[in-house]
């Protein structure tokens, strides 16, 4: 509070220009390259545009076409698979690992490093390494199945329309779990050990301690983890691009990938903008939830 009073004293009752000077350039840049483009995409979604001649306004026709496009629904369903996988597996595994590794275990540091090392790799590298894992002939998975005499289970993992999306999601989860584990480990460090001791005195067993003390205390971390996971799952693009290009027969397509292909390969840019807008609207629900939670916390200051 004191610093506000100080600011006023110097400038009297006029508005203090200093903060505006500091914020002007970064804000302008963000408006020009991020916020402005977002609104421009909304407009483009109402046009027909091939990228060469000027965009022509056609109202909601792109959206009407979207509702008749089977690839749109495949992509939407696949994004849902991504989303559900992202809010369950990393949360469960990341929390579990966090709880185990939060204790003094021999080699805990190395074990932690093993789990989050995939997170530093680019998604392209992850996609190529896993593309090789899934390779029908020499890949690790089929080679292992063959060596174990389970030849009947070996298959072209990424060329199977029913499996391709799940195979890509496995690669994505491999990269994501360590990240979530780090967030939980940080959260666990702020859990007051005296609370756990109090639980022990009251005769809590390990499960009760976890369920009634640790989990509620970690709730803020869980909220952040879930929001980040949802946003990440809606951003899925690189892995699909590099592992299957959305195939076979668009079976592993996701919204981001569908948008890219329509806009940049088929030159249906207005249509692409409409897909992007739908993707935005889904994200907006979660962005709004995050912001309103942040707003509530800010008021406590």
């Amino acid at each position: 509070m004191a610093r506000i009073a100080l600011g006023r004293r110097r400038t009297g009752h006029r508005i203090n220009l200093v903060p505006y000077l500091f914020v002007a350039v970064p804000l302008l840049m963000f408006l020009v390259w991020v916020i402005g483009p977002m609104f421009y995409s909304f407009y483009l979604s109402l046009t027909s545009w091939d990228g060469v001649s000027p965009p022509r306004f056609i109202g909601l026709r792109n959206y009407a076409r979207l509702l008749e496009d089977p690839i749109f629904f495949t992509s939407l369903a696949n994004n849902l698979k991504w989303l559900l996988s992202f809010i369950t597996v990393p949360v469960a595994l990341g929390l579990g690992l966090g709880l185990v590794l939060n204790r003094k275990l021999p080699g805990a540091r190395l074990i932690k490093a093993a789990f989050y090392s995939p997170y530093i790799l680019s998604l392209i590298v992850v996609g190529l390494i896993w593309g090789w894992m899934y390779h029908p002939a020499g890949g690790l998975i089929n080679s292992t199945l063959m060596a174990l005499g389970l030849k009947s289970l070996a298959k072209g993992w990424l060329s199977d329309a029913r499996l391709a999306t799940w195979c890509i999601i496995v690669a994505a989860l491999w990269r994501q779990v360590g990240y979530v584990m780090i967030l939980y480990l940080a959260g666990l460090q702020s859990v007051d050990p005296s609370l756990l001791d109090a639980g022990k005195v009251d005769g809590c067993n390990a499960w009760q301690q976890f369920w009634h003390i640790i989990l509620p205390l970690l709730q803020p971390v869980t909220v952040v983890v879930v929001v980040i996971s949802i946003i990440d799952s809606l951003r899925a693009f690189d892995l699909v691009f590099v592992m299957t290009r959305g195939g076979p027969y668009n079976s592993s397509s996701v919204m981001a990938n569908f948008m890219y292909i329509e806009a940049f390969n088929n030159y249906k840019m207005g249509y692409g903008a409409a897909i992007a807008t739908v993707l935005f609207l889904i994200s907006a629900v979660f962005i709004y939830a995050y912001l309103s939670r942040m707003f509530a916390n800010e008021l406590e200051y």
Partner: protein, 279 residues
């Protein structure tokens, strides 16, 4: 006694389970390392678990020279380092204003940055592509440098602002009473005090910008300018049947982020938690 033995057994079992899972987690990376030094024909004909007849550095050399990694990797640095410097500098200015002052619109500005950082990239693709084209920056390093600088402002401003709020106001006031200008307080007091946060964000942002693929795909065309992510996608098409070269190239592409991570692991992890848990 019995109870403590049972507990010991339980803990031992849990530890074994975690170790097994850890090994499983490392398996794709180990498999990639092994693949990179074997020959393609052998591995395809006899399976991954066959005993290597021959160990070769040929794949690594092929990916590096003819595969283009020697060209793509420097491009990644040419794009990443200026963007990193730009976004740190500009976001620290905004963060300083948002952390230190209350002014009409401050909340709105903060939420704009936070909301922007969470957008799906697809909503920006076409307009940014168009803007870059209109500014005659299409297919130049500058397109990527400027866009990354601008987009990462959201995350950096948010995290730095949260960090700067924890700096005690008394220090800043004392400086002002000593006749320090606002710019002086920012550059000579706030920035040095924010070094831990800056280091953490820099490490994280380096890997994020370095690992970008989508924007390189959309804003660049010339092979000579491609960063290593887009380069790898090209290499994948070029060596479609030659997986040992693709995997060797992937490992080479990962090297800089691995080095940064090993040297600056502490900051990397701090960056991740600063960005998320404080929210």
């Amino acid at each position: 006694m019995l109870r403590s033995n049972a507990r010991k057994f339980q803990n031992g079992l849990l530890y074994t389970l975690v170790l097994a899972l850890t090994l499983g987690w490392l398996l794709p990376l180990l498999a990639a390392l092994v693949t990179a030094v074997r020959t393609n024909d052998e591995i395809l004909a006899r399976g991954f678990w066959s005993l290597p007849q021959r160990v070769t550095l040929g794949n690594l050399a092929e990916a590096w020279s003819r595969g283009g990694l020697a060209r793509y990797l420097p491009n990644s640095f040419i794009i990443t380092l200026p963007a990193l410097a730009g976004t740190l500098l500009l976001s620290s200015l905004a963060a300083y204003a948002l952390a230190r002052f209350r002014f009409p619109g401050d909340r709105l500005i903060l939420y704009t940055f936070v909301a922007g950082m969470m957008l799906p990239f697809q909503i920006l693709l076409l307009p940014v592509f168009r803007l870059v084209d209109a500014l005659h920056l299409y297919d130049t390093y500058w397109a990527l440098i400027i866009f990354h600088t601008a987009f990462q402002l959201g995350f950096c401003t948010f995290v730095l602002r949260n960090y700067m709020r924890t700096v005690p106001g008394e220090i800043l006031e004392a400086a002002r009473i000593d006749g320090c200008s606002e710019w002086g307080i920012y550059s000579r007091i706030m920035m040095p005090l924010s070094l831990p946060a800056l280091a953490a964000i820099a490490t994280l942002e380096f890997t994020w910008i370095f690992n970008d693929f989508l924007w390189a795909l959309v804003l660049l065309q010339r092979d000579a300018l491609k960063p290593v992510t887009a380069g790898l996608a090209t290499l994948q098409g070029q060596y479609i049947m030659d997986w040992t070269v693709i995997v060797a190239g992937s490992l080479e592409a990962a090297l800089p982020t691995v080095v940064v991570f090993i040297l600056l692991q502490r900051y990397f992890i701090q960056g991740l938690t600063l960005g998320a848990v404080k929210g």
